[in-house]
C-alpha cells in the first residue's frame, strides 16, 4: 500500500522534473503525453492502494510512512511522511482521477500553444502538490502541499503571462493564499509550542490537554487557511479573477480539487475543530454566507467561467456548511461529486470557448445548442447535477448536507434555510447561463464566428472523451451513497472523521423535497426569463456587479494602506532618518572640517597666538588643579 501511495505521489513530480529537464528536446505534445501518463499512472497507483486498503479491516486502514527526517530543528522533528488512510485515499482517488481526465483534456485544449511544455510541467506539479496536500503525513507536509498547490495555481493562472490581467490575478490568488498559509503557520507555531509536534496523532492526542484559548486560536488559524484556499468569505475575491487561467486549469484547480482543500483540512483536523466548537460553527456560518453571496453574484456575471467560478464558491460553501456542522462524510461526498460535475461544466465551457476562439462573454453567445449538441448535453447534465436535480449526482450530496443541517440546533436550521435559498439561486444562475449560451437564436457574434470543429483527431478525442467520462460520472457518481439507504462513504471515512450529526430519514426526505423543489423553481424561473421570454436581463444591482465591493474593501483595507505605508516610510523614515542621518552626519562632519580649516588662516601670528593661548590655559589649569 505504501509503495503504491508513494508511487502515486511521486509520479507527477517525476513528470514535472522530466519535462523541465528535457526542455526543448521533446515535442510539445510529448510533454502532454508524459504528463497525462504520469497522472494516469498516479491514478492507477491510487487504485492499487485503494484495493489493498479495501482488503484490510477498517481499524487497520491507516498507515504512516516516513521517508526521512525533513526538518529537525531543536527538539522539533518533522519527517517527510505520507499518511495513507481512508480520507487521504478518498482524496487521492478524486484528485488523480479527475486530474488525469483534465490533463488528458488539456492535450487537446492546449494544443498549439507556444508554451505547452511549461503548461504540462505546471499541471503535473499541481497534481503532485495536491497529492502531497492530501497525503501529507503531518501538518507541516499538509502545509507544504497547501503552499505548493497555491504556487501551482499561481503559475497556471498566470500562464498567459503576457496578459497583465492574468499576471495580476495570479498574484492576487497567491497573496491571498499566502495569507491563509500564514494563519495556518501561526496555528502550527502555537501547536509546536504547546505540543511539541506537528504529527497528526501526537497533536490530536495532546489536544485535549490544551486550553480553550489555544484551541480556538489554532482552529482559527486553520480556518483562515481553509477559507483562503477554498475562496470562502472573507477571502474569496481571488477565485473569480483566477479564471484568467486556461480553462482546464479552472476545472482542475479552481473547481475540482484545490479549492476544496479547505474542506479536506477541516475534515482532516476535525479533532481540533471539535474541541473548538465555536470555530467550527463559524466555519459553517462562513460557508453558508459564502454560498448565498456567491449565488447572488453569479446571477449577474457575464463571463461564462466566472459564473461557474461563483457557483464553485457557492458549492464549497455547502461543503463548509457540512464540515462545519460535523457532517464530514456528506461534505466529502459533495466534494467528490462536485469535482465531477464542476469539472464537466468547466470543460464543457472550455469547449465552447475553444470553439468560439477564446470568447468568454455569455452576452455574445447564444443559440449554440444546435451547433454543439453534444456539448449542450454535457453542460445540461452538469447544470442539472449542480442544481441538485435527481437522479444526478448533486442531488444526493447536497441534500444530505442540508438534511444534516436540518437535524441540528437552531443555528444549523438557520443555515439550512439559507442553504435552501442558495439552492434556488443555484438553479437560477446555472440555467441562466445555459439558456443564454445555448438557447435562443444565434447571436451576431456566433454567426460571425461559427464554432469550428477541430480537424485534429487527438484534439477532438481528448476533449470529447474526457467530457463524456465526466458526464457519466456526474450522472451516476452520486449513487454511491444515498443517505439513509446505503452509506459506503460515511462508513469508509468513519475511522478518520466520525460524523457529529446524522439526519433521520424523515429529515432527509424533507430536505430533499424542499431543495429539489426550490432548485427546480430556480430552473423554472431561469427558463421563464431567459428562454421563454429571452428577456433582457434586468439591470443588476451595482452591489452585485461589484461583488459586494470586497475587492474595493480589500484594496482599501490592505493593499493601499500597504502601499501608502511603504511610501510614507520611504518619505519619512528611509529618506530623512535612515539616509538623512548619514547625510546629516556627513554634512556636519564636513562643516566642522570647514570650520577647522577656516582657523588655519595662514597667518603665522595666529599660529603663535594659538600656542600662547594654549600655554596660558595649560599653565592656568596646572596651577589651579595642583
Amino acid at each position: 500500500m505504501n509503495a503504491a501511495a508513494w508511487t502515486c505521489l511521486l509520479l507527477p513530480l517525476g513528470s514535472t522534473v522530466l519535462i523541465t529537464l528535457l526542455g526543448g528536446s521533446i515535442s510539445r505534445r510529448a510533454a502532454g503525453w508524459i504528463s497525462t501518463v504520469s497522472c494516469a499512472g498516479a491514478f492507477a497507483a491510487a487504485v492499487v492502494a485503494f484495493v489493498v486498503m479495501l482488503g484490510r479491516s477498517p481499524d487497520d486502514r491507516s498507515e504512516l510512512s516516513t521517508a526521512y527526517t525533513w526538518l529537525a530543528a531543536g527538539n522539533f522533528k518533522v519527517g517527510f511522511s505520507i499518511l495513507t488512510d481512508p480520507l487521504s485515499m478518498f482524496m487521492m482517488l478524486v484528485v488523480t482521477g479527475v486530474g488525469s481526465l483534465i490533463v488528458a483534456y488539456s492535450l487537446g485544449y492546449m494544443d498549439g500553444d507556444d508554451e505547452e511544455r511549461r503548461y504540462f510541467a505546471y499541471m503535473s506539479l499541481f497534481v503532485f502538490s495536491m497529492l502531497l496536500l492530501v497525503q501529507g503525513g503531518n501538518l507541516l507536509f499538509l502545509l507544504i502541499g497547501w503552499g505548493l498547490v497555491g504556487l501551482s495555481s499561481y503559475l497556471l493562472i498566470g500562464f498567459h503571462h503576457e496578459r497583465p490581467s492574468a499576471v495580476a490575478a495570479a498574484k492576487k490568488a497567491f497573496i491571498m493564499n499566502a495569507f491563509g498559509d500564514a494563519t495556518m503557520a501561526l496555528a502550527f507555531f502555537l501547536l509546536i509550542q504547546k505540543t511539541g509536534s506537528l504529527d497528526f496523532d501526537v497533536v490530536f492526542s495532546r489536544a485535549d490537554g490544551l486550553s480553550q484559548t489555544v484551541l480556538v486560536l489554532v482552529a482559527l488559524g486553520l480556518l483562515g487557511g481553509a477559507v483562503a484556499k477554498s475562496a470562502q468569505l472573507p477571502l474569496q475575491t481571488w477565485l473569480p479573477d483566477a479564471m484568467e487561467g486556461p480553462t482546464p486549469v479552472s476545472a482542475l484547480i479552481h473547481a475540482a480539487t484545490m479549492v476544496t482543500a479547505g474542506v479536506y483540512l477541516i475534515v482532516r483536523t476535525n479533532p481540533l475543530f471539535e474541541l473548538a466548537p465555536h470555530v467550527q460553527e463559524l466555519a459553517a456560518g462562513l460557508g453558508t454566507a459564502t454560498l448565498l453571496m456567491a449565488g447572488l453574484i453569479a446571477l449577474v456575471q457575464t463571463d461564462i467561467k466566472r459564473v461557474i467560478a461563483y457557483s464553485t464558491m457557492s458549492q464549497i460553501g455547502y461543503m463548509f456548511l457540512g464540515a462545519g456542522i460535523g457532517a464530514y462524510a456528506n461534505a466529502m461526498f459533495l466534494l467528490m461529486v462536485h469535482a465531477f460535475f464542476k469539472a464537466l461544466l468547466f470543460l464543457g465551457a472550455g469547449i465552447v470557448i475553444h470553439a468560439l476562439g477564446g470568447e468568454q462573454d455569455i452576452r455574445r453567445m447564444g443559440g449554440l445548442r444546435k451547433l454543439m449538441p453534444k456539448t449542450w448535453l454535457a453542460m445540461l447534465i452538469g447544470g442539472l447535477a449542480l442544481a441538485g436535480i435527481p437522479p444526478l449526482s448533486g442531488f444526493f450530496a447536497k441534500d444530505s448536507i442540508l438534511a444534516a443541517a436540518l437535524a441540528g440546533d437552531t443555528y444549523d436550521r438557520v443555515l439550512f434555510a439559507v442553504g435552501i435559498v442558495g439552492a434556488f439561486l443555484t438553479g437560477l444562475y446555472t440555467f441562466r447561463m445555459l439558456f443564454v449560451v445555448f438557447g435562443g437564436e444565434q447571436s451576431a457574434y456566433v454567426r460571425e464566428h461559427p464554432p469550428h470543429a477541430g480537424h485534429d483527431r487527438l484534439v477532438n478525442w481528448s476533449m470529447g472523451l474526457t467530457v463524456a467520462v465526466l458526464a457519466v460520472l456526474a450522472t451516476f457518481g452520486g449513487w454511491i451513497q444515498f443517505a439513509g439507504v446505503w452509506t459506503p462513504i460515511t462508513d469508509w471515512l468513519e475511522p478518520v472523521a466520525k460524523p457529529l450529526i446524522e439526519a433521520t430519514n424523515s429529515q432527509e426526505a424533507v430536505a430533499s423535497i424542499i431543495s429539489v423543489a426550490v432548485g427546480a423553481l430556480g430552473i423554472g424561473v431561469a427558463w421563464w426569463i431567459y428562454s421563454a421570454h429571452r428577456m433582457k436581463a434586468p439591470r443588476p444591482w451595482a452591489v452585485l456587479e461589484h461583488k459586494f465591493y470586497f475587492d474595493e474593501l480589500y484594496n482599501g483595507l490592505f493593499y493601499w494602506p500597504a502601499v501608502a505605508l511603504a511610501r510614507i516610510l520611504d518619505w519619512t523614515v528611509e529618506g530623512p532618518i535612515v539616509n538623512g542621518s548619514i547625510v546629516g552626519v556627513a554634512g556636519l562632519t564636513r562643516r566642522t572640517g570647514d570650520w577647522f580649516r577656516a582657523l588655519q588662516t595662514g597667518l603665522v601670528r595666529v599660529y603663535a597666538f594659538a600656542l600662547a593661548a594654549g600655554l596660558a590655559v595649560l599653565v592656568l589649569v596646572f596651577i589651579a588643579v595642583r
Binding site: 530543528a73 531543536g74 502541499g145 504556487l151 497583465p164 499576471v167 498559509d181 507555531f189 548619514i582
Partner: protein, 473 residues
C-alpha cells in the same frame, strides 16, 4: 603551532596567497581569470573535504590550528571550525565566491589581475571571519573584508559608486570600530583574546560594542542606510557576495561571539534586538515592495531577511537558531542568484528598473525558469528550504513572544507581494521599452553558474535537515 589538521589554514591562506601571486607575478592576462576561478573551485573542494572531516556528532572546535602571534597581549592566530554552523557558512562563502568569480569571468571584467586578486583576497578574509577563534583575529579578518570590497565596488561599480562606497565603508566601519573597542576591553579584562579560553563576560557595554558592528553589517533596521546604494551600485557579483555572504558574517558574529561570550548581554538586549529585527522585517518588506528596480527589491528584501535571521537567533532556542542558520545559507544562495540574475538582466536591458522591463519570459525560457525558481524559493513557498528556515525561525521566536511570529507571518505575505512584483515586473506582462527582441536568453555559461546554486537550493528544499540537524553541538 598547534595543529589539528591542515585544512582551515589552507582554506584561509590559499586565496590570500593566490591573490598576492596574481598581483605580483606577471602573467598573461588571459590566464588570470581561469587561475582565480580554479583557486575558488579548489576552495569549494577543500570545503567539501572539511565537511567530510568535520565530526558533527562530536561538534565543538575541530580542525583547529593555533599559533601564538602577539604574545604580549594574548593574541594568537587561532582558526578552526567551531560547531556545525561555521562549516555551513564557510561552504556558503566558497560556493558563492566561486560563482561570483565565475560570473566575473563571464562578464570579462577589465583589469583582471586586480579584480580577481581582490576577489580571492575577499574569499580568504571571509573564510577567516568564519573560522577565527581569536577575537582580534576575527576583527582583522572582519576589516580585511572591507578593503577589497571598497575597491571592487568603487572601481567596477555603477555610476553612483563613489558615494555608495564611502557610505558603505564608513558606516560599517563606525560599527566595527566600536567592536574594536569592545574587543580590547574584553581581551584586556580576560587576559586573552581567545574566544575559547576567554570565558564569558557579563558586561553589557562590551556586548553592545559587538552588537554595533553586527547590526550595521547585517544590517538591521535602522542601520541600513548604506545598503540600498551599495547593493545598487556594486557589480552584480559583488552585490551577490555582499548580500549573500558578508551580511551573514554579522549573524555569525552574533551566534559565535555574542551568544558564547556575552550571554548576559544577549539576555538583557534580547527584546530590543528582537523588536528592531521585527521592525526591519516588515520595513524591509514594505520598501522592497516599493523599490523601483530589481536590485532595490533584493536589497530591501535582504534587510528583511536579515531581520528574520536575527529573530531566529535571538529566539535563543535551538529551534530558532537552527532555522536561522539554515536561512543564512538559503538567503545567501538566493540573494546571490538574484543579484547575478539582476546583473544578467541589466546586461541585456541596460537597466534594472521595472518601468522599462517586462515581458522577458517570452522566448527566454531559461531566464524565466531560473528567475521563477529562485523567486519562488525566495518567497518561502512551503516546501522550499527557505520555508523550512523561516518556519523554524518563527516557530522558535514564537516561544519568545507570539507577536514576533505574527509580524513574521505578515512579512511572509509581504514577501510574496514583493517577489511576485519583481518576477512579473521582469518577466511578465507587456514587453518593456528596454527589452529588445534580440536580447538573449541566459547563455550556457550563465546557466552553468546559476544552476548549481539553484541545485543546492533545491537540495536544501528536499532536505533542510541536512543543515538544521547539524548546526550546534
Amino acid at each position: 603551532m598547534t595543529s589539528h589538521g591542515w585544512i582551515t589554514t589552507t582554506m584561509i591562506m590559499l586565496p590570500l596567497i593566490a591573490a598576492v601571486v596574481l598581483w605580483v607575478v606577471p602573467m598573461p592576462r588571459v590566464w588570470v581569470a581561469p587561475a582565480a576561478l580554479l583557486v575558488s573551485l579548489f576552495e569549494v573542494g577543500f570545503w567539501i573535504e572539511a565537511l567530510v572531516r568535520y565530526d558533527f556528532d562530536r561538534g565543538g572546535l575541530q580542525e583547529w590550528n593555533h599559533a601564538t602571534w602577539l604574545k604580549d597581549l594574548g593574541v594568537s592566530y587561532s582558526v578552526g571550525f567551531y560547531q556545525g554552523f561555521s562549516i555551513w557558512l564557510v561552504g556558503l562563502t566558497t560556493i558563492v565566491m566561486a560563482a561570483s568569480t565565475a560570473y566575473g569571468y563571464w562578464m570579462r571584467r577589465d583589469r583582471p589581475r586586480a579584480y580577481y586578486g581582490l576577489m580571492l583576497f575577499l574569499t580568504g578574509a571571509i573564510v577567516g571571519v568564519f573560522t577565527a577563534q581569536d577575537l582580534l583575529l576575527f576583527y582583522i579578518f572582519w576589516e580585511a573584508m572591507l578593503i577589497p570590497l571598497y575597491v571592487l565596488i568603487g572601481a567596477w561599480g555603477g555610476p553612483g559608486r563613489l558615494n555608495a562606497t564611502i557610505k558603505f565603508v564608513i558606516y560599517t566601519m563606525v560599527g566595527s570600530l566600536l567592536m574594536l573597542a569592545a574587543v580590547i576591553v574584553y581581551g584586556l579584562q580576560a587576559g586573552t583574546f581567545s574566544m575559547i579560553d576567554g570565558g564569558t563576560n557579563a558586561s553589557d557595554w562590551i556586548f553592545l560594542g559587538f552588537a554595533a558592528a553586527f547590526v550595521v553589517k547585517a544590517p538591521l533596521f535602522p542601520f541600513h542606510g548604506w545598503l540600498p546604494d551599495a547593493y545598487r551600485e556594486s557589480p552584480a557579483e559583488v552585490s551577490a557576495v555582499l548580500s549573500g555572504v558578508i551580511s551573514k558574517a554579522a549573524a555569525f558574529g552574533f551566534l559565535r561571539i555574542c551568544f558564547s561570550l556575552f550571554p548576559a548581554g544577549v539576555q538583557d538586549f534580547r527584546t530590543p534586538i528582537l523588536v528592531l529585527a521585527a521592525i526591519g522585517l516588515v520595513y524591509g518588506s514594505l520598501l522592497a515592495f516599493r523599490a523601483p528596480d530589481i536590485r532595490g527589491v533584493v536589497a530591501y528584501s535582504s534587510l528583511a531577511q536579515l531581520g528574520l535571521i536575527v529573530l531566529g537567533l535571538f529566539a535563543t532556542n535551538n529551534l530558532g537558531i537552527d532555522g536561522a542558520v539554515l536561512q543564512m545559507v538559503n538567503h545567501g544562495l538566493i540573494s546571490a542568484v538574484l543579484f547575478l540574475l539582476a546583473g544578467a538582466v541589466e546586461r541585456r536591458a541596460a537597466t534594472g528598473r521595472f518601468e522599462s522591463l517586462g515581458g522577458m519570459a517570452k522566448g527566454r525560457p531559461a531566464l524565466a525558469t531560473v528567475l521563477m525558481a529562485t523567486g519562488i524559493i525566495a518567497l518561502a513557498v512551503p516546501g522550499s528550504g527557505a520555508f523550512a528556515g523561516e518556519f523554524a525561525i518563527l516557530a522558535g521566536v514564537f516561544q519568545q513572544g507570539w507577536l514576533y511570529a505574527v509580524v513574521g507571518a505578515v512579512a511572509i505575505v509581504l514577501a510574496a507581494m514583493y517577489v511576485l512584483r519583481m518576477i512579473s515586473g521582469v518577466l511578465h506582462a507587456r514587453k518593456g521599452p528596454a527589452v529588445h527582441d534580440n536580447a538573449l536568453d541566459l547563455r550556457p555559461a550563465e546557466l552553468a553558474i546559476l544552476v548549481p546554486l539553484i541545485g543546492i537550493l533545491l537540495f536544501l528544499s528536499a532536505w533542510p535537515a541536512a543543515i538544521t540537524d547539524r548546526v550546534l553541538g
